[in-house]
């Protein structure tokens, strides 16, 4: 549910009842999601192979790995972001991360030259843009956050506007760019899931694993951060340090997924809120896992539908944005009735 507040404090008796029934519900939800994921994966790998196993399997496995990396990155970054902003309708994409990535990639092609970038390996390009993105986003945060008095809302608004600024600047560069260089750029920016570079995939996974471990290992701290800045400080959390660390992890995760397949705006919003609805808990250990599972399921099914039902006559991000956004609006409507 898109509630921008901390968990409601219910009476002692309901808490006890919830505590007794909680483990069961969490286990059931996670097991069910796991089973759905296995089913989706099997379906994805075997659908319409027609006997060409040697050809189809490795290619599909690679695609699957990419979908998993992106799904987990998007899910984890969004859940953490929701905790940091104490608002369940935000996603890092709304903050202009994607636009910043596109601008940086465009600037690289513009200032280094298309031929230079084309001859550069995908790996170098990926490393360069990811490093630039993490650096630029961290600088932006430090500048906007200042001494911490401005609050995350100003930060979010600045992000939204900065997103437009970055988008317009990229657009400006397109206009003054050599058309050939523009082609190089396009093929780099909108790779999608249909053409994944294996080397880049490995590096992305290598970035994802430690970032995810950091987040999962600090799930207790995240639970405390849910209570808000003042209470978290009162409970002995170094709020400023945790905030910076978590924002950097979010940046790395978003950079990884965006660099791998391009921007997917609403996926995080969709999967995180679905996970909250399913688990009905505020424990990060459960929510992070559930959101990751939902994300990978959504991507695998979406890609399957795209390839086999729609015959590539759409793009995965547009399908996900459509379904995810509609789901979000439905959530708002439902909440407005309650």
């Amino acid at each position: 549910m898109p509630r921008p507040d901390a968990p409601p404090h219910s009476g002692a008796t309901t808490v006890d009842a919830a505590a007794r029934s909680r483990p069961a519900r969490e286990v059931v939800v996670l097991t069910a999601l796991g089973a759905v994921l296995v089913g989706a994966v099997v379906l994805f790998l075997t659908w319409d192979v027609g006997g060409y196993w040697e050809f189809a399997l490795p290619r599909r496995a690679e695609q699957l790995a990419a979908l998993a990396v992106v799904g987990v990155a998007v899910a984890v970054s969004t859940v953490v972001f929701h905790t940091l902003t104490q608002n369940r309708i935000l996603t890092p994409s709304i903050m202009g991360f994607d636009a910043l990535y596109v601008l940086l990639a465009t600037s690289l092609v513009f200032f280094l030259g298309g031929t230079e970038v084309a001859t550069m390996s995908d790996l170098t390009m990926f490393g360069l843009t990811t490093a630039l993105l993490v650096g630029a986003a961290t600088l932006l945060y430090r500048w906007v956050l200042g001494d911490g008095s401005r609050g995350l809302y100003t930060l979010v608004l600045v992000g939204v506007i900065a997103g437009t600024l970055f988008g317009s600047l990229s657009d400006f560069l397109y206009r003054v760019m050599d058309p050939n260089e523009y082609d190089v750029l396009l093929s780099d920016l909108y790779a999608g899931f249909n053409r994944i570079d294996t080397e880049v995939l490995w590096v992305a996974a290598a970035l994802l694993v430690p970032a995810t471990i950091v987040v999962f290992s600090r799930h207790a701290t995240l639970d405390v951060l849910t209570l808000g800045r003042e209470r978290a400080i009162a409970l002995g959390i170094d709020h400023r340090r945790e905030l910076t660390l978590m924002l950097m992890v979010v940046t790395v995760l978003v950079a990884t997924s965006t660099a791998l397949v391009g921007p997917i705006v609403f996926l995080g919003l969709l999967v995180a809120n679905l996970a909250y609805q399913l688990t009905r808990t505020h424990r990060h250990l459960v929510n992070l896992a559930a959101a990751s599972l939902v994300a990978v399921i959504a991507l695998v099914l979406g890609q399957g539908v795209l390839e086999h039902v729609l015959g590539f006559t759409a793009t995965l991000p547009s399908i996900i944005n459509l379904v995810g956004g509609a789901h979000f609006v439905a959530l708002l409507v439902k909440e407005s009735r309650s």
């Binding site: 506007i161 206009r175 609006v329 909440e335």
Partner: protein, 329 residues
């Protein structure tokens, strides 16, 4: 809500803005790929031809769309009682683009007025859905409201992209989101007078909008039909947006920034702010268009891009400097 005292500065603002629009309009008419010498206007019929068919319509189009989009933003900010609500942040632009796409797909070869009508219906419906939603959401945070609008707009846009992709129209879709005046000649801009008429109507209703902006209870108390005025205001805003999107394409942030700057200067009395908002909007678009035409002369950069860069940079500066006002607004 702030109220600036009527000082010499505020009294002079409309005249300064009007003078700026006039100067920029003259410069705009003299800048172009084909050099036009002022004296040649009288002596050379060919130069005069270029002037009348291309330069004058373009300048008029810039003034009309800049002014009407800024007014549309001003009205939406008043009615939604939120300084961050504008055609771009309430999904109105994206809804209009969906309408335009539907018009192009369903009725190929439709006349301009037909496109405007269909786009109007869609932008009205989109904006109405947005207003309906924000009136019902419980946690009415000042930033939650535009975020809902941005997400709604994202859904409309994703839907449009889905169908555009299937019909090879993604490029057309992109041009609808980014205003470009390079194709404006005589006969291609006249619909914009409709947007201007809508903005003019807004001036007639200005006091009623001011009352409505105080909230339903206050408006009803002073004898204003809240719902009717709300509907009128939304129709005016949707009309301006739809016409501009169909004719030249959306100009990002114009409806957000210009009204904010104008109310910062003059306070919240609509009747006083509205003309200045219109003039500032026209001046900003004229200025950005001139810059876009000169930067890579003889080629040009779409005005939407320049406004996006200039506008968001200006707004960021305001936000960072006056963070407190907006954090508490």
């Amino acid at each position: 809500m702030t109220r600036a005292p009527r000082t010499a500065t505020t009294a002079a603002t409309p005249w300064v803005a009007a003078a700026a629009v006039l100067c920029l309009a003259v410069v705009s008419m003299l800048v172009g790929a084909a050099e036009s010498d002022v004296r040649a206007l009288w002596s050379d019929p060919e130069v005069r031809e270029v002037f009348v068919v291309s330069r004058v319509p373009r300048t008029l189009a810039l003034v009309l769309s800049g002014a009407s989009l800024a007014v549309a933003g001003l009205i939406m900010q008043h009615l939604a009682r939120n300084r961050f609500v504008a055609p771009t942040t309430a999904g109105t632009v994206d809804a209009a683009a969906v309408g335009l796409l539907v018009a192009v797909l369903v009725v190929p070869g439709i006349a301009v007025m037909g496109k405007v009508l269909i786009a109007l219906v869609f932008s009205l419906a989109g904006t109405a859905l947005f207003i309906w939603l924000i009136q019902r959401v419980q946690y009415k945070d000042v930033l939650l409201v535009p975020l809902i609008g941005l997400v709604l707009g994202g859904v409309y846009r994703a839907g449009a992209e889905f169908f555009a992709y299937r019909n090879n129209l993604t490029q057309a879709l992109n041009t609808w989101f980014n205003a470009d005046f390079s194709g404006i000649i005589e006969g291609r801009y006249e619909t914009l007078w409709l947007a201007a008429a809508a903005a003019g109507t807004a001036y007639a209703f200005a006091n009623l909008f001011t009352a409505t902006g105080m909230g339903e209870a206050f408006a009803t108390n002073v004898g204003v039909n809240y719902r009717a005025i709300m509907a009128t205001g939304l129709t005016i805003a949707a009309m301006s947006t739809a016409v501009v999107v169909v004719t030249v394409g959306a100009i990002p942030f114009l409806g957000l920034i210009v009204p904010n700057v104008a109310t910062l200067l003059l306070g919240d009395n609509l009747r006083r702010v509205l003309p200045v908002t219109a003039l500032l909007g026209a001046a900003l678009v004229l200025g950005c268009d001139i810059v876009g035409r000169l930067l890579i002369h003889p080629y040009e950069i779409a005005v939407g891009t320049i406004v996006g860069v200039v506008g968001s940079a200006v707004f960021l500066a305001i936000l960072m400097r006056r963070g407190n006002r907006y954090a508490a607004a």
